[in-house]
């Protein structure tokens, strides 16, 4: 642990804090149709889109209509991507002449990108064409992010409105999220990335001469290397801002063409948290309780810092079993556990990136999570298991934490001697029922799929390591899928019929079965009267509340997954301390 590392963490933290307010205000303004500086550019385009698609922007939707529109849109988009993947060899912009993808892989990938997961069972640079990347995958990166943000805004409206039946218009919210936010920000960000050396071309793959020819064990000499090319920067920008995480290359943000410099690394991390952090400010602004927005932000920030510093600590201390290997930090080396990490990012830059990508449901990686120390890897796993509500995915983090807030308010709210209230809305049986359904879906998917996978011999064949580490590999995959994270612990060969199918189902259910009860709560809250605040009202804008919210998130998460975690990473850590590795 170095001063430079702590400095990087602090600067990152302050940058996230600084961005929250301006972005939050901007989002609140354009979603509520207030004037913004960007209107002259975006408004005419928006009008044309509505004219072409015959969307009535004045039309307000009930939660059921909002949900139906969202589902219909997602199904059509998913089918579109499936077709792209299957038929890419008939389509243009395929300089490498890649064939169509297999049905189960296409289903898995279509589900993955529709749900903002970006789990990649395929190897991008050897399987998908430029057209599939740009029109198939990048399209989803934008719209799945826009859908998430729209849903979060709809939920916030449900809280803010009273005695109303409707929560907004899905088409309008999604269009605005794209035109006002995602497109302009990503265009700017991709130019910045290009300045750092990220690729942006449509060239066929380049063959270059190696500086030093390599001789392999069987005597063969390799003197050239094929470098994958492509429109990387444009996709990289939305991959981070939309917390999608699907890399243009298999190595994701560890690849020098995706994330070449420490500065690009810093900006990519910042891009992950920018929108989710800003949404807490939007929450405060739209519900008229800015302090509540900050209380939620603080709870997220503390959970992020605790996780981040734990990973940093675990990785800095290196592997105790590597006797005789110098793991000390010096001017010429990072020290610590550098396995699976890029030298240009070091321990802090990797630990921070890994924490951010698992806190948010991003899933981009700049280091291999499989190679982390057991406790470091456990924190990443726990981040996902907590429901990715530490800032969380764009929109998904917001509605995820709102579910937790409702649960928190209900459990602790009774203790102040009133029917639990959240910002003036009474939390009643229906809301609790829906919140419990939303909370239940993740453990159901993660635990059941993992349990089946670890006892079925043929499914077990996919893991690279036996023992507790193998358990973590499978567990991480299903957690990542259901939580729509998309990062892989690696070490698991997921491109099999079983994993492609179950992970596809895992991702789809993990997203949509959570969204439906969430929208139901939003619709129900919008209908309720708002009870004016008084000293007797349950406080949701105080440090006590922030602490309480964190406790509920941690306790619910810990209680659900304590047994698996103790047989996975905890056992691995203890065994490692006793000298046994996997």
């Amino acid at each position: 642990m170095t001063a430079q590392g702590w400095f990087q963490i602090s600067v990152f933290f302050l940058a996230v804090l600084a961005l929250a307010k301006p972005l939050g205000i901007y989002m609140a303004r354009f979603f509520e149709h207030e004037r913004t500086f960007f209107d002259p550019v975006a408004r005419p385009v928006e009008r044309i889109i509505y004219k072409l698609t015959r969307v009535d922007e004045q039309h307000e939707m009930r939660w059921t209509e909002y949900g139906a529109a969202m589902l219909m849109f997602s199904v059509v988009s998913m089918l579109l991507l499936y077709v792209f993947l299957r038929l890419q060899h008939f389509l243009p912009l395929n300089p490498q002449g890649f064939p169509g993808a297999a049905p189960d892989l296409s289903f898995n990938t279509a589900a993955s990108f529709t749900t903002n997961t970006n789990w990649q069972a395929y190897v991008p640079e050897t399987t998908v064409s430029y057209l599939t990347q740009m029109a198939g995958l990048a399209y989803h990166n934008f719209v799945s992010a826009a859908v998430g943000i729209a849903l979060a805004i709809a939920f916030i409206r449900g809280i803010a409105r009273h005695e109303r039946e409707t929560i907004g218009n899905f088409w309008v919210d999604m269009t605005r999220a794209t035109l006002w936010l995602l497109l302009p920000v990503c265009i700017g960000f991709s130019i910045v990335l290009v300045s750092q050396g990220v690729l942006q071309n449509l060239k066929p793959y380049q063959t270059v001469k190696l500086v030093q020819p390599q001789r392999s064990a069987d005597g063969k000499v390799t003197s050239t290397q094929t470098l994958a090319m492509g429109p990387v920067a444009s996709q990289e920008a939305i991959k981070m801002f939309g917390t999608n995480g699907g890399g243009f290359f298999n190595a994701n943000s560890a690849h020098p063409f995706e994330n070449p410099t420490p500065l690009s690394n810093f900006l990519e991390m910042l891009a992950i948290f920018a929108i989710p952090s800003g949404l807490t400010y939007t929450l405060g602004r739209m519900t008229g309780s800015q302090r509540h927005g900050w209380a939620v932000w603080s709870a997220m920030a503390v959970l992020f810092l605790v996780g981040g510093t734990t990973v940093y600590w675990a990785e800095s201390h290196g592997n105790p079993l590597l006797h005789g290997v110098d793991e000390q930090h010096t001017a010429s080396q990072s020290g610590g556990n550098m396995e699976g990490k890029e030298v240009r990012f070091g321990i802090a830059g990797s630990a921070l990136f890994a924490t951010a990508t698992t806190d948010a449901s991003c899933g981009a990686v700049n280091s291999m999570h499989d190679s982390y120390m057991p406790l470091g890897g456990m924190v990443l796993l726990v981040n996902i298991l907590l429901g990715e509500v530490v800032f969380g995915g764009v929109g998904a983090g917001m509605y995820g934490i709102l579910i937790f807030i409702i649960l928190t308010v209900f459990i602790a709210g009774l203790m102040v001697g009133r029917t639990p209230e959240y910002l003036g809305k009474k939390i009643e049986a229906y809301d609790v029922k829906m919140a419990m359904l939303a909370i239940l879906i993740l453990p159901l998917l993660i635990l059941v799929f993992t349990a089946i996978s670890v006892v079925w011999p043929s499914f077990l064949a996919s893991i690279a390591n036996p023992g507790p580490h193998g358990l973590s590999e499978i567990f991480y995959a299903f957690a990542s899928g259901a939580g729509n994270n998309g990062s892989a612990f690696a070490g698991l060969n997921a491109n099999t019929l079983w994993y492609n199918t179950t992970l596809g189902v895992d991702m789809l259910f993990g997203r949509f079965l959570m969204i439906i009860p969430m929208l139901a709560i939003a619709g129900n809250l919008a209908r309720k009267k708002t009870v004016p605040a008084s000293p007797g009202t349950f406080p949701v804008a105080t440090p006590t509340f922030a602490v309480l919210l964190m406790s509920v998130i941690l306790v619910v998460g810990a209680l659900t997954y304590f047994p698996v975690l103790s047989l996975g990473p905890v056992l691995e850590h203890l065994l490692m301390a006793a000298g046994k590795v996997f």
Binding site: L471, V531, L559
Partner: protein, 680 residues
């Protein structure tokens, strides 16, 4: 007979305990258990381990004492929860037995076509007219249509002093089972057999008509949800254990499940609800539904009648203000003389004040030639002619007219004093002697002692108080200021009251009020908590959702507190129950796997002796904590009038942090005891 409200039963009343212990076994019936999902899961678990135990025994497999002990303690967990519920019901049942005695069959004197017929009281129908004379029981609920009588209502209210009931007005309602002490009344019956007040009261205290309240339903959903999550965690643990090469026995898995699911709150939830109703009954308030009790905790606005709630019913003299040329003593003397024959409370208070302030004793007027002038609607004055002195007292305009007749005007100083008194909410009475103004008596509404502090507490809890009065706005404002209410409604008509309630409710607020008259009935029905006075009319009692048997409107504040306490108890025990799980994991998980992976003993932070004693200790703790918390569930958590933020911090510390730490200590202690007694 003592007042029930004051004779609080001890929590562990032996008779109730014995009855509850038997009931706890009857409640094992799966159909009954199914209403409580958490405890139903425990029962299924207990059945499962029992079957395994018996099967193993039949196949000649010798089970260790461990499996047997686990099974026994699982059954105890269920029984303890049932016992808690039975204990809560027990107090009501004991009370219902007393009430049933009052319900014993009586003979009614039914008036039919001018003749009196003797029929059984159970045959009476709505609309029948009966006659009840001194010494007889009133055969059914009804309204007095003729006559006045003193009635002993101790069977219902526990209050032994007789009350006056008369035809017409707001004191015409009588209750079946009460006894006429003097005179004779004619009563029109207003309820059918089985629907009388006494019947309702019995079923209420017994909890027979108990339905789950909205909050309880929501909490049950949460608990059921948590149970499903833990069921998932435990069921999937076996595959993980098999993968890890350490499969577990059903006994251990069921133990883990039972320890994790929220049995503490699940087992005590219905007891808390019943005890809440019971606590109201101890205060002599009958809530018609648990919903009303819960609503009381949520109340945002209290509408309180000024008279009887905020002030004592009557105005009292507090000051004598002399006119120019008179001394205070002279005014007091004149006022006292003029009030000697005045039997109104105001008049009496003048006599008392003069005595207290100037030592003037009530004189024996027999030796003097005294002539009292009674109050009439024409003169609107009263007074006395005594030894040549002519003393009059009355409202300012009446006395001013009297002075004019004597060629005098009301002095400016007196007029100023009158205005000053009126401005502070008092009632000025002008006293005149021999045609000249002598001074002014200040009559004042006396605010009840301590009420200001109560309102301040309510404000701290976020409850607004609104005073309802028929007084003019000036007087109302002054009293409102003195009593410290947040707002007032002056010159209030029943319609105004209704409008106010609807206005508050339209803002999402919950409103509580008290009332007794028939014209209060619509407002009582509209309010979220409507507490009718037992002395009130039948209409009022039917419109409200609570009846105060003591007819003390101030009690509305206590009702609110009881409602809050009920909700707080549920929240506190839920938090406690969930926090407990952390320690149980640390007991059971290392016990499960340290055999295969000795390194996992690092998680055995409590240093429990053996895996068996660890699991057993957790299960025993889980069962015993239910019993240990029964008194808390029945009494409710200690109640303080604090802001929500302060309450939250306090309860979070007590039940959240306490719930985290307590089981670590408890489980360790049980482990030590088990090891010492060689049970595990």
């Amino acid at each position: 007979m003592t007042k029930r409200g004051k004779s609080k039963r001890a929590v562990w009343d032996l008779k109730i305990v014995r009855r509850a212990a038997v009931d706890a076994i009857w409640k094992l019936n799966p159909q009954t258990m199914m209403r409580n999902p958490v405890m139903f899961v425990v029962e299924i678990g207990s059945v499962l381990t029992t079957v395994l135990l018996v099967r193993g025994y039949r196949h000649g497999l010798l089970h260790s004492g461990f499996s047997l002990q686990i099974t026994v303690w699982l059954w105890f967990t269920v029984l303890f929860a049932n016992f808690a519920e039975a204990m809560a019901e027990g107090r009501g049942k004991a009370q219902a037995d007393t009430l049933r005695k009052a319900k014993s069959e009586t003979i009614a004197n039914l008036l039919r076509d001018g003749h009196i017929e003797q029929v059984a009281s159970a045959k009476l129908r709505t609309g029948d007219v009966v006659v009840a004379s001194a010494g007889e029981f009133i055969p059914g609920d009804g309204e007095i249509i003729e006559g006045v009588a003193s009635v002993d209502e101790s069977a219902i209210t526990g209050e032994s002093a007789p009350v006056i009931r008369e035809a017409g007005g707001d004191r015409s309602a009588v209750t079946g089972g009460t006894r006429v002490l003097s005179d004779q009344i004619k009563v029109r019956i207003t309820s059918n057999p089985g629907e009388t007040f006494l019947d309702r009261m019995i079923s209420l205290v017994e909890g027979a008509s108990r339905q789950k309240t909205p909050n309880e339903i929501a909490l049950n959903i949460l608990l059921a949800g948590l149970t499903i999550i833990f069921l998932l965690a435990v069921v999937t643990l076996q595959p993980f254990a098999i993968y890890s090469g350490a499969p577990q026995t059903v006994f251990v898995l069921v133990s883990l499940l039972v320890c994790l699911i929220p049995t503490t709150i699940g087992g005590l939830l219905s007891a808390i609800g019943i005890a809440g109703m019971d606590r109201l009954i101890q205060h002599n308030v009958l809530a018609m539904s648990g919903r009303a009790v819960e609503a009381a905790g949520d109340v945002n606005t209290l509408l309180l009648d000024k008279t009887g709630t905020i002030t004592f019913g009557n105005r009292q003299a507090t000051e004598f203000v002399p006119a120019p040329g008179f001394t205070g003593e002279q005014v007091a003397d004149a006022a006292q003389l003029s009030s000697l024959a005045d039997e109104t409370p105001e008049g009496r208070s003048i006599v008392v004040l003069a005595k207290e302030k100037y030592g003037l004793r009530g004189r024996d007027l027999a030796t003097h030639e005294a002539h009292f002038i009674p109050f009439t609607a024409q003169t609107r004055m009263s007074g006395i002619n005594l030894d040549g002195r002519e003393i009059r007292k009355g409202a300012v305009d009446a006395v001013a007219r009297y002075l004019e007749q004597n060629g005098n005007a009301l002095p400016a100083d007196v007029r100023a004093a009158v205005e000053k008194i009126a401005n502070t909410g008092g009632t000025p009475l002008v006293v005149a002697e021999n045609g000249r103004a002598a001074g002014v008596v200040h009559l004042k509404d006396i605010v009840k002692g301590g009420i200001r502090e109560r309102f301040a507490q309510l404000r701290a809890m976020g409850i607004r108080t609104v005073m309802i009065t028929g007084d003019n706005p000036l007087t109302a404002a002054a009293i409102a200021r003195e009593a410290g209410v947040d707002d007032f409604l002056a010159e209030a008509t029943p319609e105004d009251k209704m409008r106010l309630i609807k206005h508050e409710q339209s803002q999402g607020k919950l409103v509580a009020m008290t009332g007794d008259g028939t014209n209060d009935a619509p407002a009582l029905a509209q309010a979220d908590v409507g507490m009718a006075m037992n002395t009130g009319t039948q209409a009022a009692k039917e419109a409200g959702n609570m009846v105060d048997l003591d007819s003390n409107p101030t009690k509305l504040i206590e009702v609110v507190e009881i409602g809050k306490q009920l909700l707080m108890t549920r929240g506190a025990l839920t938090t406690f129950s969930i926090s407990n799980d952390v320690a149980k994991y640390f007991a059971i998980i290392p016990a499960m796997f340290s055999g295969t992976f000795p390194v996992l003993n690092a998680l055995n932070v409590m240093h429990l002796r053996t895996p068996q004693s660890a699991v057993l200790s957790a299960v025993i703790f889980n069962a015993l904590i239910i019993v240990a918390l029964i008194p808390l569930a029945l009494r409710g958590v200690s109640y303080r009038a604090l802001s929500a933020e302060a309450l939250l911090r306090r309860n979070l510390f007590l039940y959240g942090l306490g719930g985290l730490i307590a089981p670590f200590i408890g489980i360790k202690l049980i482990d030590v005891l088990l090891t010492a007694s060689h049970l595990a």
